[in-house]
């Protein structure tokens, strides 16, 4: 087995709430310093900085994963990860049709910058990205799966936009395979309260909105040896994410 340190929840300067120095190069560079092997970029309801992140990440030896933090109709945050950049961009287009189109007030919410692979601004997103999309928390996994993606509830241990806060418990349906924790130390307490979480593969990620919030390597997944290229490693990773949590979980 080979061990990969990961962080699957990061915001770039495209998310209004993230700082503008969260550029693809800065994120990948900081991740590399932190010892991360695989990083997913998950802006609110958009994958439009993923192409730049895919150009930047290899420069620092980081394997990029294209993603999005979807805001469901219930205002629940769901992380969606994609095996390829192309499928993430197709998903982005589909979500675009279903977003609530509220103009972004930059002064209040912050910039929504789209960058190229050299960290240069090539556009801005006009509508406030974190507003709810017309996709329910029940439909999100199937919706993402149409694009080969895997979806799971973000920061279930947080009051704001966490699935447990919104729904009162971790829902039986639609049978999420994975769940994200923001704070590793809260895992056991939540497992006691919501035993269904014991059936889920737990992914811990930083939800970084600023560079200093990117955490030093601490959580990992083990993949069978043989995956060498970024494509092979992503394929092996998605095999894990799409499967039921095994008796011997290979993430920690």
């Amino acid at each position: 087995m080979s061990r990969f340190y990961y962080d699957f929840h990061m915001h770039s300067c495209l998310s209004p709430c993230a700082e503008n120095d969260m550029t693809p190069h800065n994120i990948a560079g900081m991740g590399s310093l932190a010892g991360l092997d695989v990083m997913a970029l998950t802006d609110h309801n958009s994958c439009k900085n993923c192409p730049a992140f895919f150009e930047a990440a290899p420069v620092y030896g980081v394997i990029p994963v294209a993603g999005m933090e979807l805001t469901t109709a219930e205002d629940i945050h769901v992380v969606c990860l994609f095996e390829t950049l192309e499928s993430a961009l197709a998903f982005d287009e589909a979500v675009d049709q279903r977003r609530m189109k509220v103009p972004n007030n930059v002064r209040i919410f912050g910039d929504q910058l789209i960058l190229n692979g050299s960290d240069e601004e090539i556009g801005t997103e006009a509508y406030y990205l974190p507003a709810a999309a017309d996709i329910t928390v029940d439909d999100a996994p199937a919706f993402a799966a149409r694009y080969g993606g895997v979806a799971y509830p973000a920061h279930v241990d947080r009051e704001s936009n966490g699935v447990i806060a919104a729904l009162g418990t971790f829902p039986d349906t639609p049978g999420y395979l994975n769940a994200e924790f923001y704070d590793q130390t809260k895992r056991e307490g939540y497992m006691e309260l919501y035993p269904i979480l014991r059936e889920k593969r737990i992914l811990v990620s930083s939800d970084a909105h600023r560079l200093t919030a990117i955490r030093d390597k601490s959580v990992w997944f083990d993949l069978p040896d043989g995956a060498e290229s970024p494509e092979e490693i992503r394929a092996a990773l998605f095999n894990v994410l799409r499967s039921e949590k095994g008796g011997r979980d290979t993430t920690a």
Binding site: V137, D138, A165, L167, G168, T169, P171
Partner: protein, 108 residues
């Protein structure tokens, strides 16, 4: 006032009405189900825009007399069946929660 009388009086459309003769008493507004649990009293009218399956579960758990879905929110067919099976009355209205609460105020 019963749920049936309440629905008729305020022009609320029943989606699920397995217990039309329950008495309504008091009310609660809220969409975060973790807040609603333990706060919405028994027999209350609960106004919300949340239409997840857990809305039905929390309504049942809290023993509210009915759920009123605001802003034209409805339940999908499968959920209507679940509500009927669990004995949860669900009504819907096109009006926003504030307007509904103002109208209900004093009556329940």
């Amino acid at each position: 006032m019963t749920v049936k009388e309440f629905a008729d009086r305020f022009g609320l459309k029943p989606l699920s009405l397995p217990e039309p003769d329950r008495e309504v008493q008091g009310g609660y507004c809220g969409d975060l189900l973790s807040w609603v649990m333990g706060r919405a009293g028994a027999d209350a009218v609960w106004i919300t825009i949340m239409s997840n399956v857990n809305t039905v579960a929390v309504a049942s758990l809290s023993d509210v007399s009915c759920v009123v879905l605001a802003e034209g929110v409805t339940l999908e067919d499968g959920l209507i069946r679940t509500a009927e099976e669990k004995g949860v009355n669900v009504l819907t209205s096109d009006k926003p929660a504030f307007t509904l609460a103002s109208e209900f105020g004093g009556a329940v």
